[in-house]
């Protein structure tokens, strides 16, 4: 199989999954699609080496995660920054409100924290793999995960300010 065919097959089979991860990183489907394309273009430029390294998806994911910083900066006007809803009552609408509140809180997390949570709880990567992807220590992954979850738990517990919003530049 030639490089191009291999690349074609990879894109066809993996781009939906990459797109979903990109969306969780960025919170915008159109930006996510652009981010995946950007990462795939970079991978394609070195496809032989990428294949040689044995895990093209990990390579592309790594580019995506590290590209998202500049993307986030470039498109920060499209970030969803809003108030966290008040807690709702114990019924189905409460569950929906709870998930909505958590999603909004995820969008308000610093990009690096959001990336760690996405890799850990969506991609199910190990802490070591996340550290490799982000180029940081396992300890940093652990502390960032803990900090992110603590923040989300605050939302779930209702101990977060409706006006507590942050824009972050990294």
């Amino acid at each position: 199989m030639g490089d191009d065919e291999g690349f074609h097959e990879f894109v066809s089979s993996r781009s939906p999954a990459l797109l979903r991860t990109a969306y969780l990183l960025l919170g915008d489907w159109e930006l996510a699609e652009d981010l995946v394309q950007t990462a795939l273009v970079k991978a394609y430029q070195h496809w032989g080496r990428v294949i040689g390294a044995g895990s093209p998806e990990a390579y592309v994911r790594k580019i995506m995660v590290n590209e998202r910083r500049s993307w986030w900066r470039r498109h920060r006007d499209r970030e969803v920054v809003g108030a966290v809803p008040e807690r709702a009552g114990p019924d189905e609408s409460a569950a929906l409100a709870e998930r909505d509140a958590v999603w909004r809180a995820v969008l308000e997390l610093p990009p690096r924290t959001r990336a760690v949570l996405v890799l850990r709880f969506w991609e199910d990567l190990s802490e070591a793999d996340i550290a490799e992807t982000l180029g940081c220590s396992i300890g940093t992954v652990k502390s960032t995960t803990s900090r992110g979850l603590r923040r989300l738990q605050q939302v779930l517990d209702g101990n977060v300010l409706a006006s507590d919003r942050r824009e972050v530049q990294e």
Partner: protein, 489 residues
Amino acid sequence: MRPADEVLREVFAERVGERTPATDMYHAVLVRHRRHRRRTMIGAALAAVVVLGGVAVVATGVRGGDRSLPATPTPTRPAAPTTCIPTIPPGPDTPTLPPAVPADQLPAQSGVRGSLAGDQAVVDAALVAGWQGLRDSNAQLPAPRKKLDPASLRVRFVERAGTGTLALVTAADEAGSWQAAQWVEGQGRTLVPVGGSSGITSSLDFERRSGQLFYGTDPLYISAAQVCGLTYGVVLAPAGTTATLTGPPHVDADARLVPPAARPVPLQNGLAVFPADLRGGPTVAISRDGTVLGRRALNAELEYASPGSRPAPPSAEQIDAAVRDGRGSPDRTLVERIVGWRFDSVDRSTNDGVTGVRVLWGGRDRGGHPWVLVALRLPSGAWYVSDGFSEQSNGFSSTNSGLLAADRLDDTLFVSGGARDVLLVAPKAAARVGLVLSTGEEVPVQLTDGGAVIPSPNGARPLRARAYDANGRVIASQALNDGLIPFGH
């Protein structure tokens, strides 16, 4: 209460569902790869021209960028252009166009728009050059390639653009599910394809969402191109429609965003090619009977205007002076970052520049992290105010920012923050400040040179702050993260 990680997994799964890419991802990637490659090659070729000093290439800038849109809008007319025909010297890295196919072997064109549409030689030249460019683009795509259908070739328009000529040629693949567009430029009847093809997509829905539509006989197309070093807006609209151009807003002295009046884009037979300043993201809307059919920023695909056309950001000297004159102990690095960030927001969203900078206060939180409150002065005298803090060496954050009227900077009480910390900066006339909590209690705040960063109290939410003069009279009261007029970014 369920643990956060459990809810988070549910949220992630719920949000992404079974979503798949809206575009043909493989071909989109190859097209972008090819554009990047060509940009690099042409850049090298143009550099060779400069080194050899042989060919008088007027600085069109167009040959080196994505041809669907100019890479760098040029606000001023170049001096005495002698030619606008992009010329590329032969060389090992120079893209080689496929042999030209004579116009009489290509489909006859009808319904071509533009003031030059009646000149058959110009239309033929555009057709030939467009087909060359489209075939060249396609040939550079790795297999499996789409097979272009020459019968689908359409010269969409040929129009004068200053001293040059601009044309747009489109083609589809044999399945009719994939489109490509090619800019063609030159002077008179001497036309060449410039840059890579564009507009390639397999999804009509995606085209509609992006405001571009080539399918059918009534294209809806809003874009920009550079010809002879000048930037032009390009609008192709269906019959019976009108187009309007809206520039970026201006901030008045009362900190109100004042949108400029939309001005009509003069469509001639559904086409307009007009000089355009892309700074601030001017937008074109195409309407029929009051219904907007498409709206798109002229520079929607651009990174942004070239540095040369942007207003100058505050200088290092201005920042030094602002830090020196600021209350508290402002961290210069953080001030510079916040100022740069907010300057970009002003530049990106308005027609305004920044005429001055003030640091209202600077200090540190309990963890030793720097916090600042800065204000950028706009031409009207209004201010764009932003707090900022840094918890790590390469990152900085903000919890609150917005516009403030011209005369309000020194008598406004600023209170911003969230679950962890609260920043308070008092009016100059304040003798003391108190923080009002959700319990109703008012906690006195120990100010340092007019400001403070305090931890959010446990078990109670900070709601607002009050500032008092020396006689104990309330001179300002401000809700948390309020008092500033929200601003685009």
